[in-house]
């Protein structure tokens, strides 16, 4: 009997060993590294050959890593990318590394789909975090840990309808303008009879960021809804809204040239300012961009959107994925190519502020660009990165509804305090 059992054990062991070795004994099969990528531009701007940069990077990578093949599924539109990625995660077939859309970052981290990179960053001597803009790097952080590396960033900037301003005898504002300047111009432009308005799409959040305020603490444990600078921002947006006399300004109003200002992404500027695309959009008027107006307690800064790269927490090729991730994120050559062909700003200081490169980028703009290296430095260095935490979405909804309610009634600090303490209770519970 004992003998019989021993034999059984040996058989089980052999089978186990065979199973464990099967994936490893495939002979000279190439290691395949998969990468999740979307087609077109995430920033909703026209993009010629979206895979060019990636293909070049893959060629470079495969050359330096013999025996490794990098593969990706092409043809997933940026709009469907979130769903596609979620599907892959559900089916357990997610790529080894993938692009992380700013709005998905929170979900992917909190669900455990992204691998934490702190250890790799600390152990990798080639990886120097000081090469990045701090704000870009911060976009890939969640509760203090790095989960994704920045690929390209896009700040929010203020579009100005120069034609409308000139018609009203107003000078183009400079990059140091304030809320006061902004309000005054809007006040002058607004003419309900002429169907002419000051601003479209300027939210209390935009105002809050440029007033040096943030709604939540870094760790997501406290809410600052009733802070003075937040209240100022809310008050300011309310005042701006009241200028139009109750009229709801639409995007079309801006497109046809009846609105002076609209906060838009830098990518829009990059895409539509030079030829040939400038005839496609905003062609009814002359336009330019300035930084966001500074609030009384803040400066000319805005929110930064960053496209990131993350490594799957379930990948079997973590080291290779990290190498490739670095290649796409911190390699200057790749970033230079990206900067010139895409519509974002490189997260690397050396690339983003390179005068020659900027010259090359902006040479198609007829009137010349207001985006000097200094301005890019200012926007990128001070850009606001909204802290991300698990309960962010829910807390944001609570804050929005409190403001909505306050806006319809009389805005009072006491009401905001009540809302703030409600949100704080919620944040500390979750």
């Amino acid at each position: 009997m004992k003998k019989w059992i021993w034999k059984g054990h040996v058989v089980v062991l052999l089978v186990l060993m065979l199973c464990l070795n099967l994936p490893g004994c495939g002979g000279n099969r190439k290691t395949v590294l998969t990468i999740g990528v979307y087609s077109g531009s995430y920033w909703n701007t026209p993009n010629g050959n979206c895979y060019q940069i990636l293909d070049d990077a893959i060629a470079l990578f495969e050359e330096s890593h013999p025996g490794v093949k990098v593969e990706y599924a092409s043809g997933i539109p940026a709009g469907d990318y979130s769903e596609w990625l979620a599907e892959q995660i559900m089916k357990g077939t997610e790529p080894d590394l993938y692009f992380v859309l700013p709005e998905d970052f929170d979900l992917l981290v909190s669900s455990g789909a992204l691998a934490q990179l702190d250890e790799r960053i600390a152990e990798d001597p080639d990886f120097d975090t000081s090469l990045y803009y701090e704000s870009c790097l911060r976009s890939g952080q969640f509760e203090g840990s790095q989960y994704a590396l920045p690929h390209e960033s896009v700040p929010t900037i203020m579009f100005v309808n120069k034609t409308l301003l000139e018609a009203n005898g107003i000078e183009m504002p400079d990059n140091d303008w304030t809320w006061e300047d902004f309000y005054n111009i809007c006040d002058q432009i607004t003419d309900v009879d002429q169907h002419q308005y000051g601003v479209y799409g300027y939210s209390w959040l935009d105002a809050m960021y440029s007033n040096g305020a943030s709604l939540f603490s870094e760790d997501g444990r406290s809410c600052y809804l009733a802070e003075e600078n937040v209240l100022q921002a809310i008050q300011f947006t309310k005042q701006l809204g009241e200028l139009g006399g109750g009229y709801n300004v639409s995007a079309r109003d801006f497109d046809v040239g009846r609105v002076a200002f609209q906060p838009l992404l830098y990518s829009e500027y990059r895409a539509y300012q030079p030829y040939p695309w400038r005839v496609k959009k905003y062609s009814a008027f002359q336009w330019d961009c300035v930084s966001m107006p500074a609030g009384p307690s803040g400066s000319n800064i805005s929110e930064l959107h960053t496209m990131m790269l993350g490594i799957s927490s379930r990948t079997r090729h973590g080291d290779l994925a990290w190498e490739f991730c670095k290649l796409l994120s911190i390699n200057e050559d790749v970033q230079r190519k990206l900067y010139t062909s895409s519509h974002g700003i490189s997260p690397l200081r050396a690339v983003a502020e390179d005068p020659e490169l900027l010259q090359q980028i902006h040479h198609d703009i007829p009137e010349g660009s207001g985006f000097s290296p200094e301005m890019i430095h200012r926007i990128m260095d001070n850009a606001v990165v909204v802290p991300r935490f698990d309960a962010y979405d829910q807390a944001m909804i609570m804050a929005e509804s409190a403001i909505q309610e306050a806006a319809s009634n009389q805005l009072g600090q006491s009401k905001m305090l009540i809302a703030q303490s409600d949100i704080n209770i919620f944040l500390n519970k979750s």
Partner: protein
């Protein structure tokens, strides 16, 4: 046993039910995952659960393969009984580990498989301490291996999240099916336990009754043994008396008669007288040896040394010499290869017969005949003495009869007809003994 068969049936049903439950959870999770993906709901689902699901193949493959192993171990246990105790414990521990693995691989949606293993082990292990230990471990696994409890510590997706994909009606059907199966499992477990313990109780009762019967039988046996001893004592006493009578009586008769004859001849034929006295002395010596023998084994010495035929011949020869009687000895039974008790009895019959003829019948001719028909040996002793007017069963005859009756033989005796042609008109003793057929017997 009937209970055993019922237990087996319930266990089989439980195994099948648990298999269905495992399949149910695996199927729902896998198919829902793919349906969610097909209907573009993956992002919403992830947002809802905030947790990456495990690989879809993981749950069915892990849980079912572990379950198959569990079934194999359980089957192995039944059909290859193991006596080695540590090995039994190892097998039980293996089952518990497999059970934990199954619960874990099912994301703690279902812990009822612990009941299945509990039922299996409680039946298998008879040691109360170990049983209690297993009951505690598996009950804890059953109670705490629930998603609602474990999800506080580990991240996994609730089964209800998968169900929430379906319409309320479908959800209701699935939930009812789930609770139905889970309840059925618990019910079967309870039934199993009840049957197991009532079965054990009945068995204990049966054992108690059997014990009682055994005790009674023991008492009877003791009484019987006492009786037996008493009877043996009695029989042995009788036998002893017989032996004394047979050996001493016979020898002394021989001596007296020899001595008388010697005395009578002393003057007439001194030489003959001397011979007779020598024979008397020899008879006395033989008698002494017989007495010693009797004391030692209560067995005739002649028989000890020779076969029955030889011993009888010696006996007759001795008798001829010590008495003046004419003895006709006719042995027609061939080689007499009998058991010692049978030999003893026949030897004594001949001895007693001759002694009686000379002592009581005053006979001077004695005819002895030993014959055999099949298994029946017949010994007859006839004389030409005076016979016996009123044949009273003396000590010698009675013991002869008792001895024969003990061996299943018969003894007849009486006066012979006066008209007998061969001149034997005195007394006769006939013995018929059905002998035990011994192996290697010539007849």
């Amino acid at each position: 046993m009937k209970t055993e068969r019922n237990l087996m049936t319930i266990a089989t049903v439980m195994f099948a039910l648990n298999f269905s439950i495992l399949c149910f959870y695996s199927l729902i999770c896998v198919t829902t995952t793919f349906r969610i993906c097909d209907t573009l709901g993956a992002h919403d689902f992830l947002t809802l659960v905030r947790q990456i699901p495990r690989y879809p193949w993981q749950m069915p493959v892990q849980s079912l393969s572990l379950y198959a192993l569990l079934c194999a171990v359980s089957y192995f246990k039944i059909f290859r009984p193991i006596e080695h105790f540590p090995l039994r414990v190892v097998i039980c521990a293996t089952e518990i580990v497999l059970c934990a693995g199954i619960i874990f691989s099912l994301d703690f949606y279902y812990s009822g498989v612990a009941l299945l293993v509990l039922a299996d082990l409680v039946h298998y292990i008879r040691s109360n301490k170990l049983r209690l230990c297993f009951i505690v471990i598996l009950s804890l696994m059953f109670a705490f291996g629930r998603y609602e409890i474990v999800s506080q510590f580990t991240k996994s997706i609730a089964f209800s999240a998968y169900l929430s994909y379906y319409t309320p009606i479908t959800q209701g059907i699935f939930t009812s099916l789930e609770s139905l199966m889970v309840c059925l499992n618990i019910l079967l477990f309870v039934l199993y336990m009840i049957l197991l313990f009532t079965g054990q109780k009945a068995e204990n009762e049966r054992i108690r009754k059997l014990n009682e019967q055994l005790n009674q039988a023991n008492d009877q046996l003791r009484d019987y043994a006492i009786n037996m001893e008493r009877m043996t004592q009695m029989r042995e006493r009788n036998r002893l008396a017989r032996e004394i009578h047979d050996t001493l009586g016979h020898t002394l008769t021989g001596i007296i008669m020899g001595a008388d004859a010697g005395l009578a001849l002393l003057d007439v034929a001194p030489e003959e007288s001397r011979k007779r006295i020598q024979v008397v002395a020899q008879t006395a010596r033989n008698g002494l040896t017989d007495v010693r023998r009797s004391i030692k084994a209560l067995r005739p010495d002649a028989l000890e040394r020779y076969s029955l035929a030889q011993a009888l011949e010696d006996l007759v020869e001795n008798f001829r010499l010590t008495t003046s009687a004419q003895i006709t000895y006719c042995q027609e039974a061939g080689e007499l290869n009998l058991d010692s008790d049978e030999e003893d009895a026949l030897y004594r019959v001949v001895q007693e017969g001759m002694t009686n003829a000379v002592r009581h019948g005053k006979a001077d001719r004695v005819a002895i005949r030993v014959s055999r028909t099949g298994d029946v040996v017949t010994v007859s002793v006839r004389d030409n003495g005076t016979g016996c007017d009123k044949p009273e069963e003396g000590f010698g005859l009675r013991h002869m009869r008792e001895r024969l009756e003990m061996l299943g033989g018969t003894l007849s005796y009486g006066n012979l007809d006066n008209s007998a042609q061969d001149g034997y008109t005195g007394f006769f003793i006939t013995v018929e003994l059905s002998v035990r057929n011994r192996k290697g017997d010539s007849l």
